[in-house]
């Protein structure tokens, strides 16, 4: 075998989340009353377009989650030796982006480096000029062809993308129409995204579309790799917050008395500690532990990955209080409702009341707050990495990109593209998530009470 699959801790958690998501979707499909609010989400154009964008991000993230180690050509006594470098399917797909590293900074779509260097020509004369890039625009004999070549490639790429998008749209149209989904906005969005992706892909084959960073890595590649980190922070963290918030929140609301007092004290204290401080302390402690136990990790990727998982854990431990408070309030309201009292008068056990009556009726709050929290967590990762207590420095994330770009913002001429790329990708991701969260909240909000009945 030319490779061996690697499952890192975060991969396992992502697969677990994926399985939970699929199981939940399957369950909801079979229950008309659960399906009803989702139908309303599906009717909303904004929600569907943002879902489309989100699923693209998700696709990139998932491709980046399938890790493997490639076999090395030389064998050690007949035994295959695998490279210590852990790659993902995404890395393989965009291999040129990963491997085509320049010497240092170059601007987007440039053919030369960003700084002048001393070059010696064939005659041995030393002159200072912008050296040509090793890969970016290497096929061009003359720099003056640059503009026309970019235009040609962009147009061709966009055309190809449009064609592919059109084929996709024609294939999906019937399916969408059957479900009475908003057709036109989705069509427009698909075509726009396809054209953009096509143009980018065709350009990226020959240029660094978003430039390169200090060590010459392609910024587009860095941005694509950052998506996974952001998504993991945004979703895996919920694996920690959810059980804590749900269990403690409904227990506090339902049992009242000393249980309520104890839980309230815990979360009041926890939310009074400045969260950045708490996270920094925990991350630093973890860092020391990891550094003193190098034997735990066989690759550097697995070390960085464990740090990411722990960061999720720590973020989760500090961010469950908000949801917990919400759930406690809702449970306080629910426990006074007559169907709970009816169950009590049957002598139904408390555990059963909690699982059968309370949990299903707070589900909408959980869902809304999870979708809302996602974007906050993606942003939190960026901030924490910027401060230096986020992910491992070797791990590519929006935060580390911004942190690296920070120093270069002050130099003249300014290196703006790394920051702009991180900013743009994050903006699109978070905006899509927020728009989707809005639509979800509207669909589940009992105050916007619609009288439609399940068909």
């Amino acid at each position: 075998m030319s490779f061996t699959p690697v499952i890192l801790w975060s991969d396992a958690l992502v697969f677990l989340l994926l399985a939970v998501g699929v199981a939940a979707a399957w369950y909801i499909r079979r229950h008309e009353h659960l399906l009803l609010p989702w139908r309303r989400v599906a009717q909303s154009a904004a929600a569907m377009v943002s879902l489309l964008v989100l699923s693209l991000f998700l696709l990139v993230g998932l491709l980046d989650t399938l890790h493997y180690r490639a076999a090395l050509p030389e064998k050690n006594g007949g035994e295959t030796v695998y490279s210590p470098e852990v790659l993902s399917v995404l890395d393989k797909l965009v291999e040129p982006l990963r491997t085509h590293t320049e010497k240092t900074y170059s601007a987007p779509l440039a053919v030369t480096l960003y700084a002048k260097e001393s070059l010696s020509d064939a005659q041995g004369n030393v002159l200072r000029d912008y050296p040509r890039l090793r890969y970016g625009g290497a096929h061009l004999a003359d720099e003056s062809q640059l503009a026309s070549d970019i235009l040609k490639r962009a147009l061709l790429g966009a055309l190809g993308g449009l064609l592919a998008g059109l084929l996709l749209a024609l294939g999906g149209k019937r399916w969408l129409a059957q479900r009475r989904l908003p057709l036109r906005p989705l069509l427009i969005a698909t075509l726009a995204i396809a054209a953009l992706a096509g143009a980018t892909a065709y350009l990226a084959a020959a240029y660094h579309v978003l430039g390169t960073d200090k060590v010459g890595q392609d910024v587009l590649y860095l941005s694509l790799k950052s998506i996974r980190t952001g998504l993991i922070i945004g979703t895996v963290t919920t694996l920690v917050t959810l059980p804590l918030a749900l269990l403690l929140g409904i227990a506090a609301g339902y049992f009242r008395g000393w249980v309520d007092d104890a839980i309230q004290y815990v979360y009041t204290v926890l939310s009074s500690i400045p969260s950045v401080l708490l996270i920094a302390a925990a991350v630093l402690m973890m860092q020391v532990t990891i550094e003193t136990h190098p034997q735990w990790f066989d690759t550097s990727a697995s070390r960085a990955d464990l740090r990411l998982v722990f960061l999720c854990l720590i973020l989760g431990m500090t961010s469950w209080t908000g949801l917990c408070r919400l759930l406690r309030g809702e449970t306080l309201k629910l426990r006074e409702l007559e169907y709970i009292q009816a169950a009590q008068s049957f002598g139904v056990s408390s555990l059963r009341i909690l699982t059968r009556h309370i949990v299903p009726n707070v589900m909408h709050i959980i869902l809304i707050s999870l979708v809302m929290d996602f974007s906050a967590l993606v942003l939190a990762e960026a901030v924490l990495s910027y401060v230096g207590v986020g992910v491992d420095p070797s791990m590519i994330s929006f935060g580390t990109m911004i942190n690296a770009a920070r120093l270069e913002m002050g130099r003249e001429p300014m290196v703006w593209w790394a920051l702009a790329a991180a900013f743009g990708f994050m903006l699109v991701l978070v905006l899509a998530a927020n728009l989707f969260a809005d639509a979800v909240r509207d669909a589940f909000d009992p105050r916007l009470n619609r009288t439609e009945v399940a068909a």
Binding site: H33, Y339, Q341, A342, F346, P360, N361
Partner: protein, 703 residues
Amino acid sequence: MNRTLSPNFSDETPSHSTRLAKNASLVAGYPLKEEEDLLLSVKGLITQLRNGTRIVDDISFGIRAGETFALLGESGCGKSMTALSLLRLLPDGVVHAGGTAQLNGVELFGLRERGMRDVRGGTAAMIFQEPALSLNPVLTVGQQIAEALALHQNLRGAAARQRCAELLAQVGIPDAARRVTEYPFQFSGGMKQRVMIAMALAGQPKLLIADEPTTALDVTIQAQVLQLLRDTQDATGMSLLLITHDLGVVAEMAHRVGVMYAGQIIEQASRTQLFAKPLHPYTQQLFAALPDAARRNQPLAAIPGSVPPPGSIARGCRFAPRCDKAWELCNEQTPEWTILNDGRGVRCHLYQDRGSRIEDREKTPSPPAPLPQAGEGNSILTPRSLILQVSDLQVHFPIRKGILQRVTGQVKAVNGISLEIPQGRTLALVGESGCGKTTLGKALLQLIPPTAGSVQLAGRELTGLAARELRTRRAAMQMVFQDPYASLNPKMRVAEILEEGMAALNIGSGSATRQTLIDTLLDQVGLARSAKWRYPHEFSGGQRQRIAIARALAVSPQLLICDEPTSALDVSVQAQILNLLRSLQQELNLSYLFITHNLAVVEYIAHEVCVMYLGRIVERGTAEEVLRTPKHPYTQALLSAMPRIDGSARERIKLAGDLPSPANPPPGCHFAPRCAHASARCREAYPEERNVAATHTVRCHHA
């Protein structure tokens, strides 16, 4: 006087006096000429959803100055929408789609929004159902009234303050000058509604629209507020558009009545005409569905089904599916508005001169066959085994204050109550809100632990039992709650709801047995078996209450505690539920503890009655004794405050003030401060229980 058909009207058939209204634009229902002094004249009002579903469909009526016009109808008939349309305060998604409304000579739908603002609160004011929600809690009542004064009377400063006090005094709030500066939370429910009325009066309106003004209030407070409305009307000469579902309120207040059904006015007549002889089958059946003592041993004439949702009936008469007189024409053709000779209007094929009306359709609904008598008369003599025995039950809630949460007092919600219920009988517990009747019900079920006293269910003590032992006894006693919308878990299917109790109490082994049990239960409560795979939101209020009853019956209890089971339901649906409860009692020999404030329901269903005031039972006896010969002044006041549809003149006992707080009950007899007969002795000692008859006891020094 007979409530439905008075003898002098019954032989007069409408066909003699019918003529067809040719002119649809005529203000219908009353012989009014266009020029007559109509204050409000509404013609062809149509209000619809944006998708074209008509909520208010072609309504015409007129109100003269100083007159009270009542819009009567069940919930969802479009009464409130009519009022909101007139003030152009429609919610989002609902639009005025046609028709005119002239108020005091001004066309309301032709006004600009600025002009409309002068009308609202100026020429026409409105008061709403829930006084607690219509006042802003962060402003004093004076500030809120002053707002209206500044807008419509241009009064500010000291003059406005003085006028505020005058208005509050006018609506009967004592010590008005001081209370102007108080916040809404310092007023009781009835007082808040008075403040609302004062605020409405601030603009000196010519028309007051009252949307269910007393529905949220207790019967004694309701009587006060209705009296206030009448007095105000006499004093100011304003007109009143009264929106209500309560025939009793209509009988007391209205000069003329429009009966609404599914967005249309189906009958319009003067009060006397309507109560003497309702013409439309719906109105007739509405009267027949009212419970009272005269029908004790027969099922009520419940109207099957419920009000159709707007837009669901496109063709034919909207009442036809529920009408016992409907024939083919009713399903095919929408009946025209017909004005009869005596000025009444009705929308029914029965009264249209088409020659198709056959005499025998006019026959009055034959009274339903009486139920087999359950030994009504001699039941007191034959001893029945007692299912529930409560003695000296107390439920006190501590009042805690300060940082250390020290107990500084007790709310004596239930204070020494003794009662017993024999097998197969119904005990009604009557009282105003806040008297502790729901707390008592929950304490009996041990949902709230009693402070002292004993509850014996079928001879076994329930208080002080450990949770596990208690669980085995729970099957014998179950509760039916007030609000069928809150008492069913919206995320569970009917079968799951019904199965829950069985599973908890280990009734029926295996799911197959339970499924057959569920089928039987659904049959018993009159629901289709297919209902069990559906969710509660797919059912109407009445059907939900049936599910709630089935859930309680699932564990085959001997005693059902019914906590206001019909107060959230419409009259026609209430009759269905009462019939169901009665027939279940006879089939299963159930006992009921029926907690209610509705005395008409008590008259109909109860064998024995306990009247509760501030945590104590002040009078108890058989239904006959308590309701016919009430001894306690409170019972007498309750009975006299109840609006009756026969309009019979009776002495009205006005109760002063509100129910005192149970945290701080008045010394001596708790009722003394509101009692007309109170003497010095009443203010000193709580009266002992005294027997006035073998089964009739009362706690009053003067009885």
